[in-house]
Every structure is written in structure tokens, then in C-alpha cells.
């Protein structure tokens, strides 16, 4: 499927293609051309990331020396199990969003701006993939800002003028988050003298307990916390998701916060390692309290939302609580649950936003009281909403159940019974807020406003149902989400050992063009497996 000579360069392709396409889309400024570019590039990214995940799971980490400069001197693109998992998730969500996009977007954005929207989407995609793939701490910041700036523009293109205020507030908070992240990296760079994450991890192990390094970690956790909307830092999220165009809401809800979670995992587990973050620092207690608060309070707030998109956004905040809960448990079961929930929640929430997007496309309403009887007018769309809603609650047989099961296992393992109760209570709250929509949509007579409502066009329905089917598929065949998440959790818990490092070049090798050729691939036995102990 992919030409042989391309294979070593797949990691670079993930960034270069979307960025180039974004530039072309911005220059052409034509909606149709922009959409075609975005569609083709997004779908191309899927086999590319699948191929990389396959290679990683077969054995070994892919390390790509960008520009031929070998790490740790040059920027390294590094794909291991967690990174590969996330690349597949982001590219698949991008491909589905672009399949869904043309008519839905055309109803929400004026003609002249459509090409620019696709350009922004492609930039955002490049940034998100870049954050997942890069092994360089400062490069992460650059990609973070590339994706964030594009997101601000995408959100501001919403029809409602509230979208502008939401985008501005997100810009302020997002920039503060990114700047906190750079401050943290500055501390780590000053302490270790390197920016390559593997190299940094090894040098931090030699450094031992270092106050500047811990201060750096604190800045990084808060900075990333702002980006991933960890509970008290979530205030930008509800409005940003509620008033952006439907396609943007679904794409951002399923990818942007997930990539931020991935970064948090990288810094806590790979760069610092479990010994330092969980044994020397009270990170478990800190994250447990915030996660539990997110799961209960954000769910409770979601119940009182009249705008369905805003309700889904608050539900996102509470679901992020589940993911950070898995991180806080820092055990194989807990982390597997957290990473699996990252994947499952992306599918479920995208499906819900796409279903509501279909309603917006047909009827232009998102207020709960205007949706009375919509299930009878658009049974297929709202049917998908019900299935994904069940997944959100965590009904057995759906994807949401698998990850919640792992989380409960992880909490029970450590004797945290109160936490098990919190997980159940939060799920019951989800029953209420999902149930409200289902009750209004199916058990009330359709009002006059919905008289002309009918099922949306084929591509919108197909994407929504593909995700609804995914909700059930990953709930039954757990080896695909739970299994890969388990592999990723194992890699993260193992941390970084000396065998992960690329050997530093001597001075003669550095100036020898034959040594620093395009890429370096490490073999299977050296990395990834269980032998990289501390």
C-alpha cells in the first residue's frame, strides 16, 4: 500500500503533508479545493499512522532523525506504543471529520471563509500529530502553539457571536498554559542541558532530587493542565466547544484534549519516571482529588445545561477526570483504563457531537426544549446518539464500560473504595444528563419548529453511525482498545532506561556524512520490552 522507499520517512510525512496542504489551501482559498485537500491528506494519514503503530507493536521504537541530525543533538521524531496509539486516533478522527464536513460546514460558514477553515484544520492536524510524534521537548511547544492558534481561528468561525468571545478566552488561557509549559522546559533545560526527552530522562535520573527540576515539572503539569482542561482549569472549554462549528467541536473534543493528556503521560512517566513523580512528589493525591472533583462536579453541572453542545462539553470535562484518574493510579490496570478511556471517549464524544451537528444542520437548533420529538423525525441520527450516550454512561457491551471496568479494577487493587463509589456516582450522573436528552428527543411530540426535519445527508449519517458502531465494536472486541492501551501503559510504566538512548556521535562521526544519514531505526530487542528496568 505504501511504497518501500517511503517507509523510513513515514514519521516526517505525518507533519509535512498536512502543513504543505494547509499552505496550498490558504493560497487557493477555495472551499471545494480546500476540502478535497483536507480529505485526501486526512485519509492518507490513517494508513501512515497505522503502519507505524504496526511496526512499533511488532517490536522496537521508531526513531527518526529530522534533517539527518542524530538525537540528542538534532530533533528526534520518536514513535513508541503510546505515541503510535495517539497518532492513529488523531488521524482517524481527522479523516472522519473531513468526510463529515462539506455540507455541514457549508451551512455554518460563509463561502469566502471555507477554504481558510480547511487550511486552519490542516494546520491544527499537523500540530496535533507533531505533538504526538516529536521526541523533543521544545518542539512540542512549537507544535502546541501551531495547533492552538489554528484552533482559536476554527472556534472563532462559529455562527454565534459568542464564538468570538469563547475563542478570545481560550486564546488567553491557552497561551498562559503554553507559556507555563515553556517556563517548565526552561527549568529542565537549565538543569540538564538537553531538550531530547530520552536524553533528559536519563540525565534527570543522574541528577536525583533536584528542586529546579521539580519546579519545572510543576510548571509543565499546570501548563498542560490548562490545555487538557483538568478540573479547575477547564473554564475555557464549555464555551469553546459549544459555539464552534459542529465539525470543529467534534474534531477538537476528540483530539485536542487527548493529545494534551498524552503529553502529561510523557512527562510524568517517561521524562521523570514513576519513582520521582509518584514516590517523591504527592502527584497521586493531587490528581486523584482533581479527577474525582471533575467527575462529580462537571457531571452535575452538565445536568443543568440547556444547550446540548454545552452539556456535552461539560461531560467532556468530567470524562477527562476519568482519564487523569487512570494516570493518578499509576498502576497497570489504572493506566490501561485511563489510556483506553482516552481512546473510547474520543470515539463516543465525536459520535455525540456529530449527531448533534446533524440536528444543527437540519434544524439549526441546539437548545434542549427545541429538540422535543427530534428522535421521531430523525430516528437514525438520534439512534446513534443513544448508542454513544450509553457508551458515555458505561453500559456493558459499549466501549465506555471497558475503560471504566479497568479503572474500577485499578482503584479496587489499591483499596480505594471511595473512588469506586465516585466512579459509579459519576456514571449515574451521566445517566441523568444523557437521559434528559433521550427523554426529550424520543418521548415528546414533535413541535412545529421541527415539522420539516428529516434525516441528514448520507455522509453525515455514515460517519455518525461508523462511530456508533465503533462504540459497540470496541466494547466487545476489547483487544483493540484495551489491549493496545495495555501495551502503551506497560511502555509508560517501564519508563526510560539507558538502552533507549541513541549513542552520541563522536566528533569525527558528526562531520562524516555517511554516518548521519536520514534515519535511524533501533531494533526490536533493545527497547519497548520489559527488560528496561530501573
Amino acid at each position: 500500500m505504501i511504497p518501500e522507499s517511503f517507509v523510513p520517512h513515514l514519521p516526517a510525512l505525518q507533519i509535512v503533508l498536512p502543513l504543505l496542504a494547509a499552505l496550498i489551501a490558504a493560497l487557493v482559498r477555495n472551499g471545494t479545493v480546500g476540502w478535497l485537500l483536507a480529505l485526501v491528506v486526512s485519509w492518507l494519514m490513517v494508513p501512515v499512522s497505522m503502519a507505524m503503530l504496526g511496526a512499533v507493536l511488532d517490536g522496537g521504537t521508531i526513531s527518526y532523525a529530522l534533517g539527518g541530525w542524530r538525537p540528542p543533538l538534532g530533533i528526534e521524531y520518536r514513535v513508541d506504543a503510546p505515541a503510535g496509539y495517539l497518532l492513529v486516533l488523531v488521524s482517524a478522527m481527522g479523516a472522519l471529520a473531513m468526510t463529515y464536513a462539506p455540507r455541514s460546514l457549508a451551512s455554518e460558514i460563509p463561502v469566502g471563509k471555507r477554504g481558510l477553515y480547511y487550511s486552519m484544520y490542516l494546520t491544527c492536524l499537523a500540530g496535533l500529530l507533531g505533538m504526538a510524534i516529536t521526541g523533543d521537548a521544545f518542539n512540542v511547544f512549537v507544535f502546541m502553539e501551531i495547533s492552538s492558534l489554528a484552533m482559536y481561528a476554527m472556534i472563532a468561525m462559529g455562527k454565534d457571536r459568542r464564538a468570538l468571545v469563547a475563542a478570545f478566552q481560550y486564546l488567553i488561557i491557552g497561551t498562559i498554559g503554553a507559556t507555563f509549559y515553556v517556563i517548565g522546559i526552561g527549568f529542565l533545560f537549565a538543569s540538564t542541558g538537553t531538550l531530547n526527552m530520552v536524553d533528559m530522562a536519563l540525565r534527570l535520573q543522574d541528577l536525583g532530587d533536584s528542586r529546579p527540576a521539580f519546579a519545572g515539572l510543576a510548571f509543565i503539569v499546570v501548563g498542560i493542565g490548562l490545555k487538557l482542561a483538568i478540573f479547575p482549569l477547564h473554564l475555557w472549554l464549555p464555551n469553546a466547544y459549544a459555539y464552534s462549528p459542529s465539525v470543529a467541536s467534534a474534531f477538537l473534543a476528540s483530539t485536542a484534549t487527548k493529545v494534551a493528556v498524552y503529553l502529561l503521560l510523557r512527562f510524568i512517566f517517561s521524562v521523570f519516571g514513576v519513582d520521582q513523580t509518584f514516590d517523591d512528589l504527592p502527584l497521586t493525591e493531587f490528581l486523584l482529588v482533581l479527577s474525582a472533583a471533575a467527575m462529580v462536579i462537571a457531571s452535575a453541572v452538565a445536568i443543568f445545561q440547556m444547550n446540548v453542545k454545552r452539556m456535552l462539553a461539560y461531560s467532556s470535562v468530567s470524562q477527562i477526570g476519568y482519564i487523569t484518574l487512570g494516570i493518578a493510579l499509576a498502576s497497570q490496570a489504572g493506566l490501561t483504563g485511563g489510556i483506553a478511556h482516552l481512546f473510547n471517549h474520543a470515539i463516543i464524544k465525536a459520535c455525540l457531537f456529530f449527531a448533534i451537528g446533524a440536528v444543527v444542520y437540519r434544524c439549526g437548533v441546539v437548545k434542549l426544549d427545541q429538540l422535543a420529538g427530534i428522535g421521531r423525525k430523525m430516528p437514525l441520527t438520534m439512534g446513534a446518539f443513544v448508542i454513544a450516550g450509553l457508551g458515555l454512561i458505561g453500559v456493558p457491551g459499549t466501549a465506555g464500560f471497558v475503560s471504566k471496568w479497568y479503572l474500577i479494577l485499578g482503584a479496587a487493587e489499591q483499596g480505594l473504595w471511595l473512588l469506586v463509589i465516585v466512579i459509579v456516582v459519576s456514571s449515574l450522573l451521566a445517566v441523568i444528563y444523557v437521559g434528559r436528552v433521550i427523554e426529550v428527543a424520543w418521548f415528546r411530540e414533535p413541535g412545529p419548529a421541527l415539522a420539516k426535519a428529516s434525516e441528514p445527508p448520507f455522509e453525515i449519517l455514515a460517519v455518525t453511525w461508523a462511530l456508533a458502531a465503533g462504540t459497540i465494536f470496541f466494547g466487545i472486541f476489547t483487544q483493540y482498545s484495551g489491549g493496545v492501551a495495555g501495551d502503551a501503559a506497560m511502555v509508560l510504566l517501564d519508563g526510560i532506561g539507558p538502552s533507549d538512548a541513541t549513542p552520541l556521535l563522536t566528533r569525527d562521526e558528526l562531520f562524516d556524512p555517511t554516518v548521519s544519514s536520514g534515519h535511524v531505526e533501533t531494533g526490536g530487542g533493545e527497547t519497548g520490552g520489559g527488560e528496561t528496568g530501573h
Binding site: 521544545f138 511547544f141 512549537v142 502553539e145 492558534l149 482559536y152 481561528a153 472563532a156 457571536r161 459568542r162 468570538l164 468571545v165 475563542a167 478570545f168 486564546l171 488567553i172 497561551t175 498562559i176 503554553a178 507559556t179 515553556v182 517556563i183 526552561g186 533545560f189 537549565a190 542541558g193 531538550l195
Partner: protein
Amino acid sequence: MEILDQITRHYNYVITIFLMIAGVYIVVAKSNMIKTLIGLSIFQASVYLLYLSPGKIIGGTPPIIGEGYEVYSNPLPHVLILTAIVVGVATLAVGLALVVRIHEAFGSIEEDEVLRELEHE
């Protein structure tokens, strides 16, 4: 006196911390969106100093391999901050563009006035 000595010897960090806190304070305290963006820029500028000042070694030279070049300063912080400055300018540009659009839509750039108007809708 030791504290005073510490402060005078590390005056570059004192300036950095002052700018950092001043920037965040403006972002939090001011309702005018342009002022918020100014605060954000000051906050970002403080980070430039945080990187640049440890990057310079007194008596250090550019990293050139050759006679007479013994102690050298790491050039990497400068390159990083060049990138960060570009990012900062881009952020400011997007922020100002949003303020222009908000002014068109609401007729005000005071955040509390805009939010009050939205409440009445």
C-alpha cells in the same frame, strides 16, 4: 545582607520574575481586551529573559572549534527564543484580530460589558 547580595547578583532573574508576575496580573485584573493582550505579551517576554540570561557565560565565545576558543556560550537558548518570539507575535496577531471582530460584533472591547450583553440575550 546576604539576601541583598543575592538579589543584586541575580538582578536579571529579579527582572524576569517581576515581568512574569506583572504580566499575569494584568491578564487577570484588566477587563479591557487590548490590555489583557499587552499583559500576555509581557508575560511571554519574561520567559525570553528566563532562557536568555543563563545562556550567556561571561567571557564566553560563540561555539567555534579552534585556537583561542576555550569557554563558549550555548547558542541554543537564542535559537529557541527566536522561535518563541515568532510564536508570541503570531499569538498577538490572532488575539488582536479576534478583538477587532469582537468590537464589530459587540461594539465594545471591555470583557465585562461584552459578557453583560451576552447575559441579556
